[in-house]
Amino acid sequence: MTIDRATALDLYRVMRTIRSFEERSTQLFGENKIWGTIHSYAGEEAIAAGVCAHLRDDDWITSTHRGHGHCIAKGADLGKMFAELLGRETGYCRGRGGSMHIADTSKGNLGANGIVGGGIPIATGAALTAQQLGTDQVAVSFFGDGAANQGTFHESLNLAAIWKLPVIYVCENNQYAESLPVKRAFAVENIAVRASGYGMPGVRVDGRDVRAVHEAAREAVARARSGKGPTLLVADSYRHEGHYYGDPRKYQTKDEIEGWRKRFDPIADARAWIVADRLAGVADLDAIDLSVVGEIDRAVAWAEEGPPASPIKLPDDVYAT
């Protein structure tokens, strides 16, 4: 598989932005500036970056409680994301949603979701809209291995298959549903085999390799866009952090965590192959890192300047008028 310099650097930049966003969020949480709960996407960046590279602004995604990465990869404004986490009026949801409900409908992001598997039927419905109105838009549902055991997974994949809907189901197998390891949650080793039960292609990729995700997603998106129907794409991955910020991770050993973190880092991998393939030099990559940190700094500064979300008009947002 070949990938050009521009694409490689775009993918790298998106992944680095997600990682930096998560690092800064964690820091802000530690400073008690963010409250509630946040779920870090660190380690899984290659999936959101590789898939969303094929999407247009008018394509739709549904995301998860671990949704910062999808939001960023779909083109969200970092300042408005931080503002949301900080409970500001200038946040994406004006402080009503927080980390687990960030949405950016202007970019087709139909929202993070606090319910495991909650976004799967919604993406299916978005694909129904595209089919019904005869557009070539597609929908992508991101969800974890945990959601693959919800009833919504079964019902939605079946509906999409019988109707040939333009939707891509992206299962991010990060090895744990909260604390339950996949080995104890699935009797099959490869989640992608479930696709054959619905009559759609099931593709398993290495979620550490953004090139592999990018390639598999290209095919799945093209298939959906051309009216050939849905695909289940399963990306094997690993989350570097706990389920949520502050998770004591009693279900994992220190050795496992450290070993995986070293072995499984899509960003370190990308640096290595980008340099080895002579697509860019170390200095180019370092420059991107520096630029991303600057962008994050400016986004946080902008967010912190925003006024606290106002409670005055809360009831006005319940119903559309």
Binding site: W60, T62, G91, Y92, C93, R94, G95, R96, G97, H101, A103, D104, T105, S106, L110, G111, N113, G114, I115, G118, I120, P121, I122, A123, T124, G125, A126, A127, L128, T129, A130, Q131, Q132, L133, A139, G151, T152, H154, E155, S156, N158, L159, I162, D316, D317, V318, Y319, A320, T321
Partner: protein, 345 residues
């Protein structure tokens, strides 16, 4: 069965000639007509649900629509309640105006996450970024021997969720007008029909007929007590009011029609006139919507009341099967008469 078209149109009596002509039709036909007219008016309107195509829906509400609009707009599904409702949420968020038919309200538990955590809250959670213009049509109620899993009245579940609207029409005319308004509304609307109303008949305005959400209707005027009710119990209350009149008691029957938003003004005005409140519903009494109405009246018009507000509602049991048992757990006409006499006496 397709909508009847051969009935003679007749003007609404006493309407000064300005009201549109009406036609006698079944409640199910009135709903069918609303669906057909709205689908003709707006191509974004689709119907999605089980057995709604050739079969015409379990209660024949979508009869004939497949032939008129084809299988993509009359989108028949496998038995997948949460998949169907969730797809409707996603479709509504992205530009369609889907109408879901769930065969029985008792099945809504299977779909409840998409109703409560998604449809109802998306707009709020997203800070106003989204609209979810969908209607969830389903039916409930007892009286057909369908027993506990097919006979409940679950309006209180939905009324307790911020972000939903809740409609329960009692007459064919209201069924048509309220469904039209629900389809045009930009919010998720729960539209609860009653299985024993489908074969009731009434005069229904021809052509476009919109009954705005949030307006109660005084179905019979009176001065001695206010009976507030909805859905099938409206018919029972009207019959009871007739018997009460023979006893010299003038009962006013207020059909709330829309439980959310509730037309508080109409209810308060009626109670200020009659000074007595009887709330009647088929759903079980405990934490039923009648408690909300009684509490609202007590809070806002306590000084107007000549007697404590009274609730007449279903027993706190599942709906039993045998005909006489089934009748015994929900308010019947004679129960309303007795409760009204007690309240006035």
């Amino acid at each position: 069965m397709p909508p009847k078209t051969d009935t003679t149109a007749e003007p609404t009596p006493g309407a000064g000639g300005h009201s549109p002509p009406t036609r006698e039709m079944f409640y199910s036909e009135a709903l069918n007509e609303a669906l057909r007219l709205e689908m003709e008016r707006d191509e974004r309107v689709i119907v999605i649900g089980e057995d709604i195509a050739e079969h015409g829906g379990a209660f024949q509400v979508t009869a004939g629509l497949l032939d008129r609009f084809g299988p993509t707009r009359i989108r028949q599904t496998p038995i997948s309640e949460i998949g169907i409702v969730g797809a409707a949420v996603g479709a509504a968020l992205t530009g369609l105006r889907p109408i879901v038919e769930l065969m029985y309200v008792d099945f809504s538990g299977l779909a409840m996450d998409q109703v409560v955590n998604q449809a109802a809250q998306n707009r709020f959670m997203f800070g106003g970024q989204a609209r979810v213009p969908m209607v969830l049509r389903t039916q409930g109620g007892s009286g057909r021997g369908n027993a506990a899993q097919h006979s409940k009245s679950l309006e209180a579940w939905f009324a307790h969720v911020a972000g939903l609207k809740l409609v329960m029409p009692a007459t064919p005319a209201d069924a048509k007008g309220l469904l039209t308004a629900a389809i045009r509304d930009d919010n998720p609307v729960i539209f609860l029909e009653h299985k024993l109303l489908y074969r009731t008949k009434g005069a229904v305005p021809e052509g476009e007929h919109v009954v705005p959400l949030g307006q109660a209707d005084i179905k019979r005027e009176g001065t001695d007590l206010t009976i507030v009710t909805w859905s099938r119990e409206v018919l029972f209350a009207l019959e009871a009011a007739g018997r009460l009149a023979e006893l010299g008691i003038a009962a006013e029957v207020v059909d709330v029609r829309t439980l959310v938003p509730l037309d508080k003004g109409a209810l308060l005005a009626s109670v200020r006139k009659t000074h007595r409140l009887l709330v009647v519903h088929e759903a079980i009494k405990r934490a039923g919507y009648g408690a909300e109405i009684a509490a609202m009246i007590a809070e806002e018009a306590f000084d107007e009341l000549d007697a404590p507000p009274k609730r007449l509602a279903g027993l706190d049991t599942p709906i039993p099967y045998a005909q006489h048992l089934e009748k015994s757990v929900v308010p019947q006409v004679e129960d309303i008469v007795a409760a009204a006499k007690e309240l006035v006496g």
